[in-house]
Symmetry: C2
Subunit: 365 residues, 2 copies
């Protein structure tokens, strides 16, 4: 067992469950010999995330067929510093080829997330073929979002909208929830802390929009790192695979300290709701110790928050009963992380059995 050797410099340590980053961009997920997954999983465990749901960029390919899935799995083998699950990327051509070893379907409508679908008819095919009990995730916006929600309604199935970024989209989701459509959504954490006015980037919400997001926390099921930090960094010509992961928890803890967010909301949106939506198993003996009043200075090379002082530092992360990260040092080898994709499917099936009992047939065959 690893011991903490630093002196107690903080008065307030809270223990959080291992957090889940449901949309974790791994650019080279399906690129042979890519180190992106390892880099991302290492940054994640050090930042309080014990589970990451991966998404590809689709360049050259996301997880779209058996070959690209095999490469992704090879890239994770012995290079997983936290647990993870994989999603299959819709690419128009793979409508009927569900990849068994993935936990969800991702339908991309923006180029960052894959080969973007051109229209709703292409998306409709996936709604016709993807199992009703397995998550469908999409970054659809505007018209595409309305169409996707319509598809979910017509097919009477759930859908998760990732990276909600406009008030109109938020209103559409809110209205759909009011009418009991099975829709959930997340916002990318950067969009809660950076504005268009501050950065000059159109990738970010205006101050007015951002304020509205904060006032809509009840509509937002999850927080995620998402693709926004990577896209912002790319705009500056400095993209790195792990962009945004490190800052996420300090930004949110800082917001808790400032009374903008409750710790319960943080846990709901980074643990409880992600687990529900993706049928994630309980991670036994996994947790995150956070020193909530200890200042952390974002590394001066690390994106738009470089040099900013936030209160909230990850002190220790324990995964499966073993300290994985402590005081800036990793104690993992890369063999710790498990692929949860198949487990989520088993959980989904078990839940289904409980809630939808099969009709008893009295006739012997």
């Amino acid at each position: 067992e690893i011991e903490s050797v630093d002196f107690k410099s903080s008065n307030r340590t809270v223990t959080l469950p291992g957090l889940v980053n449901i949309q974790t961009l791994v650019p080279g997920i399906s690129t042979a010999a890519s180190k992106d997954f390892e880099e991302v999983s290492k940054a994640s465990i050090a930042s309080g995330f014990t589970v990451v749901g991966t998404m590809g960029t689709g360049s050259p390919k996301g997880i779209e067929d058996k070959a690209s899935l095999a490469i992704a799995r090879t890239n994770t083998r012995n290079h997983a510093h936290c647990d993870f699950f994989l999603s299959m990327n819709a690419n128009v051509d793979n409508t009927h080829d569900r990849l068994k070893d993935t936990a969800a379907l991702f339908i991309p409508f923006s180029p960052i997330a894959g080969r973007a679908l051109a229209n709703v008819s292409e998306a409709a095919k996936y709604f016709g073929s993807w199992p009703a009990n397995s998550p469908i995730v999409t970054d659809a916006k505007g018209t595409d979002l309305a169409s996707i929600l319509l598809l979910a309604s017509l097919h009477n199935r759930s859908v998760h909208i990732t990276g909600v970024s406009s008030l109109d989209d938020m209103a559409l989701i809110s209205m759909s929830k009011d009418k009991e459509l099975q829709v959930t959504c997340d916002v990318e954490v950067y969009s809660l802390f950076l504005t268009r006015e501050e950065t000059g980037s159109k990738l970010l919400p205006t101050k007015v929009e951002q304020d509205a997001f904060w006032n809509s926390l009840n509509v937002i099921d999850c927080f995620t790192v998402g693709t926004l930090p990577y896209r912002l960094a790319s705009e500056q010509g400095t993209s790195v695979a792990h962009a945004g992961i490190q800052e996420t928890l300090p930004l949110l803890i800082d917001a808790v300290n400032k009374g903008r967010l409750s710790m319960e909301e943080l846990i709901a949106k980074l643990y409880t709701n992600p687990r529900k939506i993706f049928s994630l198993p309980e991670q036994k003996d996994s947790y995150v110790e956070v020193e909530t009043d200890r200042s952390c200075v974002i590394a001066s090379t690390s994106g738009p928050f470089a040099g900013k002082v936030l209160s909230g530092t990850v002190h220790r992360v324990v995964l499966h009963g073993e300290t994985a990260y402590l005081d800036g040092a990793w104690y993992t080898t890369g063999s710790e992380g498990q692929d949860l994709s198949s487990v989520t499917q088993a959980i989904t099936k078990a839940i289904e059995k409980v809630t939808i009992p099969a009709i008893a047939t009295s006739q012997a065959s």
Copy 2:
């Protein structure tokens, strides 16, 4: 009884039921002392339409409140040369003020049809308050259309889309029908016979789109005159209230003669389906005699088909047992046309009683 005095110049006369133009633009419907309704109803009866569903332009006002409804009713009194029904125009402010004497709600998304709604939240309010059994009609396109279909799905109610004008919109409606959403739609007849290439007007479909419309006749429930002829004429600076009405039946009969359309489809889309969708009563002893092989030359001042020779001429129109129009002459005074708005409501209620029996309560109160 009026006798036909002309010599039989045609070998083929077919008798059609009195036709319905479900979206009949009446620009000054709620403008005091406007003659637009009279002009339109007179053009309609002479063109084979014994019922017109009116829509305003919203300039200065459509039928939006009690005062504008009262003006509209005054404009129709003794100036109705055919039967008609009125629709209430949604204008954001009248969410909770259903006008009892209208037959449907029209939700405008383009300025021609009223004060266009800005977004789906505004439309959502009407879906929450408008009676489930009364028609909602809208000219929504693109994002707005997807949102409207979503609202209809979430509220489990019917909606009629008028003036479908793009393949994407057609695909969305087709997909919704496949999943048994209660959606019906119409196309404006001009869009089946004029192309962007021929006219240079962006109001019209491209040749490719038009061909696709012809191949989607099974998705199209109704034909309508709609606002397209008026908008086209306005583009040329020659708008008249009755634009497009006269050409509609000759264009369609000509298409029947050319084998592009069956007479059964024509009747379904201009009579059977309109009656079903708007709960229109049977018009006793009302019919249209059409000489299907008699050429008619569109008046040389009358829009994009001016001077064109079409086979198909309205010979006689009989309304309520009396000849209203014969061989180019009107035999109406303007007192013949009845306002069917309240009748449609009574029919809707009667249908509802038959199909949705009230739950019997055994307990005396």
